[in-house]
């Protein structure tokens, strides 16, 4: 380390008296640092810090927007789901009602058809009965006529004949009914 020989040079040792050259150097040195920092670097770093702040805040804003959107979508979805559920319930209700109505309708229809069929059967039976009665009456009339004619035709000469005629008539009648039965079977 270099030391200065003071006493021999006769300078005054005054540590609180600032030497002018050092003062000037100090001022200049600080001025350089200050101007460099204030003019060149401070704006740069402030700009960057501002940008960073904005970037962070922008990121936050974006995240918030995304979150809001997600919330919106979720709400929409939930609303749709509720609607769908509501709709489904409504449809089910409707279908049930329709089903009940259809069953009732079909029941009524069946009832109606049954009654129709029954009525038709009754009518048929009535018609058959009527035609049968008519044909029977006709046959009976004819038979009665035939019998009467025969009785009249043979005359009432004698009892033997009379009984014979009656027997014959009865035989005919039997045959006729047998023929009718036969025809009935073959048909």
């Amino acid at each position: 380390m270099k030391a200065l020989l003071l006493a021999s040079e006769g300078e005054v040792e005054a540590p609180l008296l600032p030497p002018i050259p050092e003062l000037v150097i100090g001022l200049i040195a600080f001025a350089i640092v200050f101007f460099f920092l204030a003019k060149k670097l401070s704006p740069k770093i402030n700009k960057v810090l501002e940008e960073r702040r904005e970037a962070i805040e922008g990121g936050l804003e974006k995240a918030e927007a995304a979150q809001a959107e997600a919330q919106q979508v979720l709400d929409d979805y939930r609303a749709q789901l509720a609607d769908a559920r509501h709709e489904a319930a409504r449809l089910r209700q409707e279908a049930q009602e329709q089903g009940v109505a259809m069953i009732a309708e079909m029941r009524t229809e069946g009832q109606r058809q049954r009654e129709e069929i029954i009525a038709a059967g009754h009518a048929q039976i009535e018609a058959d009965r009527k035609s049968a009665a008519a044909s029977l009456r006709q046959d009976v009339g004819q038979l009665a006529g035939d019998l009467a004619a025969k009785l009249v035709g043979e005359s009432l000469k004698d009892a033997t004949r009379q009984s014979r005629t009656i027997d014959r008539f009865l035989d005919e009648l039997e045959n006729k009914s047998a023929d009718t039965a036969k025809a009935e079977v073959t048909r």
Partner: protein, 269 residues
Amino acid sequence: MSAEQMLAFETDCHIFDGCGFPAPGLHSFLFEPIFSIGGFDFNKPMLLAVLGTFLIIGFFWAAFGRAKVVPGKLQMVGEAGYDFVRRGIVYEALGKKEGEKYVPFMVSLFFFVWIMNLWSIIPVAQFPVTSIIAFPAALALIVYVLWMYLTFKKHGFVGGLKNITGYDKSLGGVLPLAVTLEFFSNVLVRPFTHAVRLFANMFAGHLLILMFTIASWYLLNGIGIAYAGVSFVMTIVMTAFELFIQAVQAYVFVLLATNYVQGALAEHH
């Protein structure tokens, strides 16, 4: 006193060799010029001041020159220092809105003082530039001028004087005395204490380190070796302590400067 006794560091002198302890003193803060141009002597503190200036500029240029939104390591360190002064000192005293324009000045001041202090424990340099009164005085002068300028600009001449002297009618009879005291305290003593506080701390710190360093070497003879060890340990302890003091003094210097600016800008009360 002979020339030999005045040497701050006599390399071949030990205890029991018949030479006295080459105690450090005021002469330890005086340097032979490295070179001279005309009447201008360029000495070691000046060299360190210039080197320190380039060091600060170099560091901040490297850190902020191509500042990015996503910072690199160096930029992060630079930002930490920048933000320490900005938030820790300037915003605290002046608020964000008012303080913003003083940030570059205070950051420069802090790092300038700190680096000039730090030379004290940098090997080879090993001399705090701020222990030469001229450097703290120059900085205190700048702060003083700034303070005065802001005071009179903000309050006008009479208002400025009132602001400086703490003029307050409610003091009544004590008013002349209070004003006189305040005037001396603020206008005359304040820049002096501002500079001397930093200077004396660095001066004393350097003397302490120097004394233990020289003692470690001087005692290195015979039984003195045991004491030399103690002295050497003390050198290391003091160096670590100085590292702390350097930062604290830089902080205090800037804190006071900020408070002066705040006082200048404060409303009358």
